[in-house]
């Protein structure tokens, strides 16, 4: 096996991830949530945005580019996701980027999306964490996809790339050990409402330029 810097980096991330998994940060978690809300019959914990750095809050910003209105642009390097609006503006969301979020870049469309999706841990994650079940029901408080998932396809083929919610609001704005593009649950719900099936997405290159081609990327989460 050829060891690249990326492999080593991912190995390091995996170790970090394992540590985080075994020691949940309960004290930290409590202040990151403020009460509960109900969405489509599921009760979930509401993000305490007072605790979140303002730069990761959903906001309308200037956005100078030639991307057409309605396009989603993901900047994994800076942990922002933009939905392009009229008059050189965009709604900007803070995101966390899991290692699968770095596996791919390019253009795709949102061809499927779901409410409170079922989570199937990818095989390599179950290898690291044998205690994980084969799948976690949608709406479970242990389901890391949260309330929404949006699935990116290219020419009708699933890229394995997704936007989804999170159980860890403190990970927004950071690189995370697992997942693709994670958003505050409130933001995942918001983006889902604004992106019709067929929405164009551009994921800007990050370390994905060292990633395997799309055909080798397995569906994750």
């Amino acid at each position: 096996m050829e060891w690249t810097r990326r492999n080593i980096l991912l190995g390091g991330l995996a170790l970090l991830g394992a540590g985080a998994f075994q020691k949940p940060v309960y004290a930290q978690a409590s202040s990151y949530f403020a009460g509960t809300a109900v969405d489509n019959g599921v009760t979930f914990r509401v993000t305490n945005f007072a605790k979140i750095d303002k730069q990761w809050h959903r906001q309308v910003v200037k956005y100078f580019s030639s991307e057409p209105i309605g396009t989603v642009v993901v900047d994994t390097r800076h942990h922002f996701l933009y939905l392009i609006m009229e008059n050189k503006t965009a709604i900007r969301y803070g995101v966390g980027v899991g290692r699968d979020g770095f596996k791919w870049f390019g253009r795709a469309t949102i061809d499927a999306k779901s409410l409170w999706p079922l989570w199937t841990p990818p095989p390599e994650m179950r290898k690291r964490h044998p205690e994980l079940p084969e799948s976690v029901a949608g709406g479970s408080p242990k389901n890391p996809l949260g309330p929404r998932a949006m699935y990116l396809h290219r020419d009708g083929v699933d890229t394995g790339y997704r936007f989804h919610g999170t159980l860890e609001p403190w990970s927004i704005g950071k690189d995370a050990s697992s997942g693709c593009i994670r958003m505050f649950n409130e933001d995942a719900i918001d983006l889902y409402q604004r992106c019709p099936i067929g929405t164009a997405v551009q994921v800007l290159p990050h370390i994905a330029d060292q990633a395997p081609p799309v055909t080798e990327v397995n569906a994750v989460e």
Partner: protein, 178 residues
């Protein structure tokens, strides 16, 4: 000669001003709304009006509710996603009773211009009826279909076409007929 230099720099300044004006273009989509002043500054600066968003303002509506709902091809039926956005719009409008609401329907699906006009009107009407069913006073609302006029942009690819099959809710302080 100093006088000549002054003249030259004034001429240069005038030329630069002209060049700047020539760069100003109007996006097709801006016909939904009056064209905004050309934007200056940088990506990631707060958009004008969004520096600090007040509850009940138009900016609050845009950021926290959303103005747009989308439709399937050749359909004026509200799907569950559209209804979820309209539920939020209705709740917001009921909390902020001074705003009026203009519903603009659009279509660029298959069919003649007159068919598109009808479809876009049906989309706007369905939206208005739904908001009324959620308690928004019908006297605060009016609906108009624009057919395939005022598209986001003229296009053939799917990701562009889905943007054109929409109803946009525009807040208004008073009635207008445009």
């Amino acid at each position: 000669m100093p006088a000549s230099t002054g003249y030259k720099s004034r001429l240069l300044a005038a030329a630069m001003l002209l060049a700047l004006t020539a760069c100003t273009t109007t996006d097709v989509a801006s016909v939904e709304e009056p064209p905004a002043a050309p934007m200056t500054g940088q990506t990631n600066d707060p958009a004008p009006g969004f520096e600090s968003v007040k509850t009940g303002s138009e900016e609050d509506f845009i950021l926290n509710v959303g103005r747009r709902i989308y439709f399937a091809q050749d359909s004026a039926k509200l799907d569950s996603v559209a209804m979820a956005t309209l539920d939020n719009q209705a709740a917001w409008l009921n909390r902020n009773p001074s705003w009026l609401i203009k519903l603009q329907g659009f279509a660029d699906d298959s069919g003649s211009e007159s068919k598109m006009k009808t479809l876009s009107q049906q989309r706007a009407d369905a939206t208005m009826a739904y908001l009324a069913s959620k308690g928004v006073d019908a006297r605060r609302m009016w609906a108009r279909g624009y057919g395939n006029d005022r598209e986001v942009r003229d296009c053939t690819e799917r990701s562009c076409k889905v943007q054109n099959r929409r109803v946009v809710a525009n807040l208004r302080a008073q009635r207008d007929e445009s």
